[in-house]
């Protein structure tokens, strides 16, 4: 059922078994898991079913450090969340992403890829992906034209991506959620405060507000914050009336280790003979899966580098395309999306007149790489408050020389392999030429992927939540989504967000079952 929180009497008390805060990929995936169960689920969404500038404005905030997109337009604040304009890229994290790597400070999850595998398999469904198959051989069996570059697989491997249509969760799952008798969706229900019991060991309720001036309270047995990394941290930090440093923040970890995927053009691949490289290409809306080049676990360890992947796109297309950090500048995400689509369209039109002989000879090599976990890269609270009285988020995004050295090494390895294969040559962009230059070019961008502000650790000193995504020291408060990530890996976060959410959902069901 659906209730518009603007339309009910102010001061209403809403009660349920589980309260999910946020209705994006994580919140909706969680709610779907509980349909037709005997439990009453309260699903709180700050916005409505459509974009609302007033609600979107609640996401505005300052950024410092590495230039970043405006916070106001970096995520979408309505039912469905940022799946309202995502590109649909999905791939699981690698085994190496979960382990403790001596050369990556603060790495090491309390769970493994094997722990998450069954949930990855289940997670394929919500974004309407194909089978849980990320082995290049599987896709090559179905399409022999998907030919791998002849590179040594002990150095460079083909990491597969699958593509969601892309599924807009707010559209696709609205009916299922609204029609479910035990799912109580409240729109225009922005959580502004979280109240704990006297000794701050469990949560008693949350306060919700909206621009209509209505204030309500929600009580539940369990609370799940599924508002994305910046907002999860913001809510915990802002809930400081009982815990001065914020909830779950006894060890000053909330908001820290904010991570993004560093995304930027980095090099070019020039082939001696034209090759369409179909395995590596994407035709939006058509391509089901494609590969990106990745460096093997052994070589990452040998060279002590971060995990990243390299996508290939014809240079004739990308040479006319502005960097995303220059396109996505407006506070209004709709204008940014229009600018981006029109830039893609224009670049596509200009490239269309070029012969395949030329288009298939030179490719842009575009990096997508994890950011090393960095406690100085963080979300804090501003003194300035939003219209509902919540301190605004401030983001300090900080990169290090480690990321740049890793990128350079990745291309040196690929360049070497391309040379051995005798198929062409790799040319680095100017910013990578000098190994001693640690600066970043103006076009260095990111993937709009916010991760890591409530990181997972068995040790409360090193993380905010435990392996079950429960906030340390608080018995009934959980976080869902990419805020739990310990490391960012290379893939876009959505598939892992869903997988972790399904795992959390199973855990909560088990927990409730064991208490009845």
């Amino acid at each position: 059922m659906h209730v518009d929180a603007r339309m009910i009497d102010s001061g209403s008390l809403i009660e349920g078994d589980v309260c999910i805060v946020g209705a994006g990929a994580a919140g909706i995936s969680m709610a779907l898991e509980w349909i037709n169960t005997p439990h009453k689920i309260i699903l709180l969404e700050g916005g409505g079913f459509e974009y609302d500038p007033l609600v979107q404005e609640l996401y505005a905030g300052k950024t410092t450090g590495q230039p970043y997109y405006p916070l106001k337009s970096a995520r979408l604040h309505y039912f469905g969340g940022t799946t309202g304009h995502w590109a649909g890229y999905c791939s699981p994290f690698d085994e190496i992403d979960f382990i403790k790597r001596d050369w990556v400070p603060h790495s090491g999850w309390p769970i493994t890829r094997k722990d998450l595998d069954p949930f990855y398999a289940r997670a394929q469904k919500n974004p309407e992906l194909g089978p849980y198959e990320y082995d290049v051989a599987y896709w090559q069996q179905h399409d022999p034209a998907l030919i791998s570059l002849p590179l040594d697989e002990k150095v460079v491997w083909n990491k597969m991506w699958q593509f969601s249509p892309p599924t807009q969760f707010g559209v696709k799952y609205k009916d299922a959620i609204v029609k479910a008798k035990n799912i109580h969706l409240y729109t225009y229900a922005n959580v502004t405060d979280i109240k704990a019991n006297e000794n701050v060991s469990s949560i008693e309720g949350v306060t919700i507000k909206n621009h209509a001036g209505k204030t309500h309270r929600v009580k539940a047995k369990y609370f799940v914050l599924a508002c994305c990394s910046i907002q999860n941290a913001r809510l915990l930090l802002a809930a400081n009336s009982q815990a001065p440093k914020g909830l779950g923040n006894d060890n000053d970890n909330v908001g820290r280790y904010f991570m993004e995927h560093l995304e930027l053009k980095s090099a070019e691949l020039h082939l001696a003979r034209p090759n369409p490289l179909k395995l590596y290409m994407i035709d939006f809306g058509v391509t089901k899966a494609r590969a990106e080049l990745a460096i093997t676990k052994e070589k990452q360890e040998e060279h002590k580098i971060l995990n990243g992947t390299v996508s290939l796109t014809p240079l004739e297309f990308t040479k006319n395309l502005k960097p995303m950090i220059e396109i996505w500048k407006d506070d209004d995400p709709r204008k940014n999306l229009d600018s981006m689509l029109s830039a893609f369209q224009k670049a596509g039109q200009e490239a269309a007149s070029i012969s395949p002989e030329i288009t298939n000879k030179s490719f842009e090599l575009f990096t997508r790489i994890e950011q090393a976990p960095n406690p100085a890269s963080r979300v804090t609270l501003d003194r300035d408050k939003d219209a509902l009285g919540v301190p605004r988020a401030m983001l300090h995004w900080e990169l290090t020389a480690f990321e740049k050295r890793s990128i350079r090494t990745i291309y040196e390895l690929i360049g070497q392999q391309v040379g051995i294969a005798g198929i062409g040559r790799v040319k680095l962009m100017e910013f990578l030429e000098d190994a001693n230059d640690h600066s970043w070019p103006s076009f260095a961008g990111a993937g709009w992927h916010h991760m890591g502000t409530t990181r997972m650790s068995d040790d409360p000193k090193n993380g905010v939540v435990d392996a079950n995504c429960k906030v340390h020291g608080i018995s009934n408060l959980f976080t869902a989504g990419a805020s739990n990530y310990v490391t960012a890996a290379a893939p876009n976060p959505t598939l892992t967000v869903i997988a972790l959410t399904l795992r959390l959902s199973d855990h909560l069901k088990q927990r409730i079952k064991s208490k009845t």
């Binding site: 082939l271 003979r273 360049g415 391309v418 040379g419 051995i420 040559r425 790799v426 962009m429 030429e433």
Partner: protein, 133 residues
Amino acid sequence: MKRRSFIQLSLYSGAAITISSFGCGTASEVANKPWVQPQLLSHICDAKTVREIGVRYREKFNNENHEKQLINILLTDSTNKVVPVTSEEAVINSLLEQKIQKDFETGNTVIIKGWILSVTEARQCALFSLTQN
């Protein structure tokens, strides 16, 4: 093979090798030889780019700034013997191909103007820049 007299030349790496001064040839002798231009690179770059790479290579490794010296290094095989510059084109091409392959396999690469190149082909570019002004 003709009588050889040997001179010592220092490579950019600091290693010293022995090379023939007779088999090496001069700029005018090699100017029109196709092997002066790196084969694969010539499929993806124009002559101007190859020349620019060569100039930058010589700036970076200014102890490899002479035609004879570059020719000798390029034509020295894995046993330190120098293939005469008058050899058949196929012989020289085969030697250079092998050297380039080995360079990539052993990591004997260099980054010049962003290009990740085998040291051998970078030297070809350097020679090209000296002979094709």
